[in-house]
């Protein structure tokens, strides 16, 4: 009797915790522009209606190499510390004015001793005060369920517990505001739910690095 009770309890525990993904759903997102071309480096976020406990954030990094930030877009969970190692043999002066996280790392080489903690959700644009063309984005997600699109414009958010979600997309050049992209999704069982966006993008008008005859450079 006691043995049978233990087996049932173990099965329930397995269903609830150990074998969670077997009952989890996934969102397959497709992001395309208004000419139907796939959009890479878009961040897709699924925000559950019922708040979930967030995992402990891990240290991330955005490096400076050959006078560029790498990667160009990094999506992180709220509260994530990010370090900015300078792998160039020249100084970089990293800053952001974004409301979600403004900061300044004055001209330095190597890795600053204290990482920057991104503790408010939203996009953060990052630049270098010496090399004006250097640009990167940190997207800070308030939900643990997020992913970034690849070159094919697809992103897969796996292992989502069943329930109601608001699924949004963010891209550095999109015309609409992020909340306007929200789509309600109800996940049940183990099926995959497809979410599609066709985004109108602004033209890529990043500051030009290439020199011209008339100069115009930073030095």
């Amino acid at each position: 009797m006691c043995m049978r009770f233990e087996v049932v309890r173990a099965l329930i525990a397995l269903a609830l915790f150990g074998a969670g993904p077997a009952f989890a759903s996934e969102v397959v997102a497709s992001v395309r522009d208004d000419s139907d071309a796939p959009v890479a480096e878009a961040v897709v976020v699924a925000v559950p209606e019922v708040p979930v406990k967030l995992p402990a954030p891990r240290l991330e990094s955005i490096v400076q190499e050959t006078k560029e930030f790498k990667p160009f877009v990094k999506a992180v969970l709220i509260g994530t510390p990010i370090e900015f190692p300078n792998r160039d043999d020249v100084l970089h002066h990293v800053y952001s004015f974004s409301p979600a996280r403004s900061f300044e790392l004055k001209a330095y080489s190597g890795t600053p001793p204290v990482p920057i903690v991104f503790d408010r959700p939203g996009p953060v644009a990052i630049g270098c005060n010496i090399h004006d063309w250097m640009l990167a984005y940190v997207y800070v997600s308030e939900s643990p369920y997020f992913a970034m699109t690849g070159a094919d414009g697809h992103a897969r958010l796996a292992d989502l517990p069943p329930g109601k979600y608001s699924v949004r997309v963010w891209h550095a050049r999109m015309v609409v505001h992020e909340p306007e992209t929200a789509q309600p999704v109800v996940l049940a069982g183990t099926s995959a739910t497809e979410v599609v966006w066709n985004l109108k993008l602004k033209r890529d008008s990043r500051i030009r690095r290439t020199p011209t005859r008339s100069g115009g450079g930073y030095r």
Partner: protein, 288 residues
């Protein structure tokens, strides 16, 4: 004094610390000038095309959060297809400082620079030194559009003074000028940018013509100028020059570009002496 300054600059270029960036800027191209002789009458107007090359090598040093220094040694040369006496080499040095007033790509900036170069021509009548002082200020208005204003003082000295008229200086190629300018660049696409500019120059112009009484009475230096023929006479006159510029640049990766541009110079001097130049050029630019 100048040698000492160049030696100090060379020492700085070679020994500046680990925080410094290397500067290696190279340009090569061709430039057509419709009125090389700066002449008014059609039979005096001489046009030619020059192949040009220039190199700047040095260091860029961030001195403080918003202050930087650039020190370079510079070399350049021109080779003309017809008037070979104008072929020249220039060797010099340049020092510039730039300050940003604030943080970020859109912060306004101001700069100052000084340079000196030795000029050696195939025909030595133009040999001399060129000194320049420059001031500039600018601001990026959007990611694609920036604008700047600048001031430049230039003094060219000539080694030789070959006076041909008693009592009148022969230092035709000893020239001074002040120039103010505006320049703006706009990125049409991620590869193509368009630049426009305007300069207003006030100063000496060396004009070479056959003997000409009107120019004679309005010039303050006269010398023979064999570069344009045995009977050509060079005159130094004071003129106001307006320069209109337009150009486009095509990016080849992050360090190289191809540039095409045109300039229209309109010079007005005393006595109704007007000179018009059209310059058209193409160049390849590399920057480390």
């Amino acid at each position: 004094m100048l040698k000492r300054a160049i030696t100090c600059l060379l020492w700085f270029v070679v020994s500046s610390g680990a925080s410094a960036e290397d500067v290696l800027d190279m340009q090569a191209g061709a430039l057509y000038d419709s009125n090389l002789s700066r002449a008014q009458l059609h039979y005096d107007i001489k046009s030619d095309t020059a192949l040009q090359a220039a190199l700047a090598w040095g260091r860029f040093v961030p001195l403080a959060d918003n202050l930087s220094l650039r020190a370079t040694l510079e070399a350049g040369g021109e080779a003309y297809t017809r008037y070979s006496g104008l072929n020249n080499l220039a060797l010099g040095a340049s020092l510039g400082m730039r300050r940003k007033f604030g943080l970020g790509a859109f912060a306004p900036w101001a700069s100052g620079s000084a340079s000196a170069a030795r000029l050696e021509y195939q025909n030595s009548i133009r040999d001399g030194w060129r000194y320049e002082l420059g001031l500039g200020a600018g601001k990026r208005l959007t990611e694609s559009w920036d604008a700047e204003a600048n001031f430049r003082y230039q003094h060219r000295t000539a080694d030789k003074e070959l006076a041909v008229v008693p009592g009148i200086s022969g230092a035709v190629f000893d020239l001074q000028s002040h120039e103010v300018g505006l320049k703006s660049e706009y990125g049409l696409t991620d590869r193509v940018s368009l630049a426009v500019g305007f300069d207003f120059r006030r100063g000496d112009v060396a004009s070479t013509t056959l003997r000409n009484f009107t120019i004679f009475t309005n010039s303050d230096a006269i010398a023979l100028d064999p570069v344009f023929g045995p009977n050509a006479v060079g005159y130094r006159i004071f003129a106001l020059t307006r320069v209109w510029r337009v150009g486009t640049s095509y990016a080849l990766g992050t360090a190289n570009s191809i540039n095409v541009g045109a300039e229209r110079w309109i010079s007005r001097a005393r006595g109704g002496l007007d000179y018009y130049n059209t310059l058209v050029g193409a160049s390849y630019v590399h920057a480390l």
